[in-house]
């Protein structure tokens, strides 16, 4: 064993120890912040959480601490995010297909992907302002539909890029294997390609949904806010992020507490959606070819 030098505190070991420390430190900061956020939301929101909160709309004097709930915002957010996600999906699937089939890794493919990545990074308030300007120009009022359209625009880049990555990772051998057995192209698409890509597509959709449901700035301008439950695409609608925002800004402590309860509800929805998607992807992923 004589040739094995005893570990001494050389520079390389010091560097490694230092780097490890930095990584652990960052991890603690991230996990700690997340824990703190959850802690505050739970501690402050739970007392105000009641059956009324999730089953009733604001009654007279609600914003001064009287009875009612935020069912209007819960439903509004679900409608906005689902509608936006559905609309974004209708456009992102063909765009992703077009990117793969016709643009590929060409110069234009590069530019389109770059644009999508830039769009991804644009703050949502800019989308909101854009939507607002457009609506004024067209003489439209704030409505559920306008909110859905603007959320679809916000979600489109994430979903398209996520699907693009999924499609790009589709092994060509797989199609050939199925064709070699005498499949029609339709059977290949339906039975093989979809199976391979479904987990990735699910993830892409839920990424979009997650961004949509949490967004306050864009719906503030485009969907407005109302105490009623949305019944028409043409009327304004409430949303959870804005319910949090308005109530936290209130001078009444009871109302502030309800703001935290609204945040808790939003957090639970987002958590449920992401855990659900994890579970679904893992199940669907079992058979995919890596």
């Amino acid at each position: 064993m004589g040739f094995l030098k005893k570990k001494r505190w050389q520079r390389r070991h010091l560097v490694e120890t230092f780097m490890k420390f930095i990584m652990r430190f960052s991890l603690v900061i991230v996990a700690g912040s997340l824990g703190l956020i959850l802690w505050i939301v739970v501690v402050r929101g739970t007392p105000a959480l009641s059956l009324d909160m999730v089953t009733k709309i604001p009654e007279g004097g609600y914003y001064m601490g009287k009875g009612g709930g935020i069912l209007n915002a819960i439903l509004g957010s679900l409608y906005l995010a689902s509608g936006g996600t559905l609309l974004a999906m209708i456009f992102s699937v063909p765009i992703a297909m077009y990117l793969k089939t016709y643009l590929g890794d060409s110069k234009w493919g590069y530019y389109v992907r770059l644009s999508l990545d830039v769009l991804w990074g644009i703050p949502s308030i800019v989308y909101g302002a854009f939507g607002f300007t457009l609506m004024i120009a067209l003489g439209l009022r704030a409505s559920l539909l306008a909110g859905i359209i603007i959320l679809a625009l916000i979600e489109l880049p994430i979903m398209t890029r996520a699907m693009d990555e999924v499609i790009r990772r589709m092994p060509i051998d797989l199609e050939h294997a199925a064709l070699a057995l005498g499949s029609t192209k339709f059977e290949v698409a339906l039975r093989v390609v979809t199976r391979q890509m479904l987990p990735g597509i699910t993830t892409a959709i839920l990424l979009g949904f997650g961004r949509g449901i949490g967004d306050a700035a864009s719906v503030l301008f485009t969907a407005g806010y109302t105490d009623r439950i949305p019944t028409s695409l043409m009327r304004p609608t409430a949303s959870l992020p804005l319910a949090v925002f308005f109530q936290l800004g209130s001078p009444y402590p009871e109302v502030q507490q309800r703001g935290y309860a609204a945040a808790l509800i939003l957090t639970i929805i987002v958590l449920a959606v992401s855990l659900g998607s994890r579970w679904l992807s893992a199940r669907l992923n079992k058979y995919t070819i890596k």
């Binding site: 051998d173 294997a177 199925a178 064709l179 005498g182 058979y287």
Partner: protein, 251 residues
Amino acid sequence: MDAHIQVKNLNVYYSKQQALKNINIEIPKNQITVIMGPSGCGKTTLLKTFNRFLELTGGTQLTGEVLVDGQNIYDRDVDVTEVRKVVGLLAQRPSPLPMSIYDNVVYGMNIHRMKKDRKEYKAAVRHYLEIAGLWDEVHKRLHDPATSLSIGQQQRLCLARGLAVEPEIILGDEPTSALDPISSQNIESRLIELKKQYTTVIVTHTLRQAKRLADYVIYMYLGEVIEAGSAREVFNDPQHERTRAYLEGQI
């Protein structure tokens, strides 16, 4: 010779370059034919003309005829999925479908609606996994992902999957080149066992494998067939200088 595949005046072009030049050969029924030749001489291309896989590559052009049982598979009214059902392919690298071991074998039978009920499918899965020599290894985990198998097992699964659609011809494009020696040997033994019932065409780059498998040999060079004949004749007494050089150069 009882020819199963006849190739007549076959020319193939990739965009501008000609890959196959006036090929005229016959492939004997229920024997193993081995296609040999230096890399880039057109072996894969020739094989791809037998199951109409060439048309998956854009910009290719083909003239001439490939007859299977006397019928030109390039005739206008021929259904390409029927061609590929009759002419199976074992690819260079195994590529299992994104589903369980069981469903991989069922897939082809299912799209061609070859069985009536679950019981028949189950029996068929067992039958073909046994033929491929995989049953004993996988019968306890039929519903595991196909990717959980080793590469060698995956290739045998692909063999079972291909045989399940009841082809008459098996094509193999260097089907053992991605495998370890033991798995290669396993596949070779399967092919030899199966040759009584199937016409087999194998491309190989190893001369030893060619000698172990071949009943009939086709030697190609720069897109042309230089020599074709029974294994005994070609290996023992090649008629052409190029074939002789290839056989000697590799030994």
